[in-house]
Assembly symmetry: C2
Homo-oligomer: 392 residues x 2
């Protein structure tokens, strides 16, 4: 009998909006975004809030209640917002996923309701996964509160939780309904978190946009001194490059490559090896350093370009070596090299690693020379290992 | 700052193939389908098999091993196939999902590997969900073994498991890599399962295609006597109508309606009320009967058309009443009417129920008259309640 051919394309569309004071009474962004659904009755919304954000913004809960009351014609709180621990813990512990799903069930949050998540990348990943699988997908609005989530993880189409000790083992591709970047949330960030998101901007600049890289270098001192205008500029361009990349090629990564993942194979593994005491962006900074050195060792970029990047990372305050980078397995193999295998498994099929052919231009390779990785690690260890006090 | 607009479409494509003896040494369908991925090395495949199928086909495991050995250049078994209980139990018990995910992890099944599921709709739903969320999606091939899964549930883009006592509470939209319908699996079906899938064909015929409805009526006696050619014809047309419908409109159901779900609001609830002792197709037959009677009570179709459908369902051997249909809550409301609320919640937003404006033409409505539902239930109870033996 004749084969039946299925063939369709699913259109997706969302905006990444920039604002300040999202829940101020006079700010109409959220109601305007919700109105895009053309619903005629108030939408039910379940908020999920990063406990770190709730703590740093003690007035936030009350603001949300006041805001919802003032916009009762568009928005109805499904229930008291859920406050969940942020950071990797939220993705490691399956209880938190269950908490969100239970609330979706208990409060009758439906496919035309909204799960609105406020927090860093981990909470957005967790809430996005819950939203993607409950009722086969309820609408999800992301309100990223860190540099990293505003310029990278929060603007894309992926969500995830960790399982079997592996980062992002479970997840889906599920475009959000909208992303709302409120720069006020950046004011309360610890310096570590302010800095940590900058590495994703350097990553994408190095492989896509030399002008952006130069602009980050130009603004480095301002960024260190927490100049908000410089940071907003960085976030906007970085988010734009990510959004373009995702929309342009293979949004759901059905092919082999993920060309924006420069510096990430080692970063993922380092996060795991340090038991997530390294922030993702901090691990990415080390991953970038490693792959820049490796690109030089491979003869792809000159030493001057290598040093240019390492200097910028240092000027921004990134640590470029942690002992876990040199950690070895029983057989003498670097633990971080295991990350290559896991990375290939996660991508599927062929290994694809982004390196640099020059600053601003990425180049994919399909194998890594373990001996050169070892040399790159040694280079970082010698140059960037913090000296014991007695030797300072 | 300027809003960043994301806008893309994701193309999906898969075939629904028809064959006999899929794992016979001379059958090249599976290797040919796998070759579509253009991989140059053998693909890793993890099989998940319905225990009922494994029992009814005791030679199946050995056939798969022999087949894989004969096609070692295209196919490599990740590990011994997983045998899991079929039926709703597989979707109710979260351990089975965990079993599949653990195997995906343990055997290094990646995004370019295959999870191949053989079984009824429940196992396909479960395995499809596991495949959709592991590594954000590994390739999934469905080999449906029942009439219902070959003509309906197995050819679409949905997967799911049950949670919080609710059917399909968790799931995603994730098109399979391919669907392989092997009619040999139908030979071993119990009569209940053979019959049960026919109700989905009647459903889609009633709302989409009067000629198909007439052809089912014409073939009714053959279908009852398990004529394979008649069944293959029914399956092919039913699958075709489902595939067309899914691809044509709103594959991931981002809008409000699911126009192919005639008779389903009551069916889902009846399955739950009978603790899944009713097969899905059996529940759908009752749901169709109920909505046909309701359509008549609403003045939408004449009594002759109502009786035409009820006669066909009876001729095919469907029971049209179970006591749970008349079950009441403490407040006197029919339990099945609760299904309407749950159905709206699952769909999101507005209630949309498909009724008939005539045989072969569905018509959506957005509210249901509970008193008429009660009358429709009474009609079925009076006419179709099995009589106690003493009264026969």
């Amino acid at each position: 009998m004749k084969t039946i051919e299925q063939n369709f394309a699913v259109p997706f569309r969302y905006g990444v909006y920039f604002t300040e004071g999202l829940f101020s009474p006079e700010n109409n962004l959220l109601p305007e975004v919700l109105a895009q659904d053309k619903a005629t009755s108030p939408r039910k919304a379940l908020f999920v809030i990063d406990s770190g954000v709730a703590k740093a913004h003690p007035q936030l809960l009350e603001q949300i209640h006041t805001f919802a009351a003032a916009h009762a014609d568009t928005l109805q709180l499904a229930e008291e917002p859920l406050i969940l621990p942020g950071g990797e813990e939220s993705k490691n512990n399956p209880e938190h996923l269950q908490t969100i799903l239970s609330a979706v069930n208990a409060f009758g949050v439906c496919r035309h309701s909204y799960l609105i998540a406020i927090g860093g990348g981990a909470i957005l990943d967790l809430a996005g996964f819950a939203a993607a699988v409950a009722h086969r997908g309820i609408r999800h609005i992301r309100i990223p509160t860190t540099v990293l989530s505003q310029n990278d993880s929060g603007v894309g189409v992926k969500n995830s939780v960790n399982a079997f000790g592996k980062k992002n083992f479970l997840g889906t591709f599920a475009p959000p309904f909208a992303v709302l970047n409120d720069s006020d949330f950046l004011l309360s960030l610890e310096d570590r978190d302010w800095r940590s998101g900058i590495s994703e901007a350097i990553k994408v600049a190095l492989i896509k946009d030399i002008h952006f890289y130069q602009s980050i270098k130009h603004d480095a001192r301002k960024l260190v001194s927490r100049d908000m205008a410089a940071m907003q500029k960085l976030i906007h361009r970085c988010a734009e490059l990510h959004v373009e990349h995702i929309g342009g090629l293979d949004p759901f990564e059905m092919g082999s490559s993920r060309p924006l993942d420069f510096g990430h194979w080692a970063a993922h593994k380092l996060e795991q090896l340090t038991k997530y005491s390294l922030r993702h962006g901090e691990a990415v900074a080390i991953g970038i350093a490693l792959d820049v050195i490796y690109s030089h060792l491979k003869g792809m970029i000159p030493a001057t370009e290598r040093d240019d990047v390492l200097s910028l990372l240092q000027e921004l305050g990134f640590r470029l070596f942690v002992p876990e980078l040199a950690q070895q397995e029983a057989d003498g193999q670097l633990s971080v090299v295991q990350g290559l295998r896991e990375f290939r498994e996660h991508l599927g099929g062929q290994l694809t690693i982004m390196l640099l052919s020059k600053l601003g231009v990425g180049q994919e390779v399909h194998e890594m020379d373990e001996e050169l990785v070892r040399q790159a690690v040694s280079y970082l260890q010698k140059k960037h290992q913090p000296q014991p006090l007695s030797q300072v």
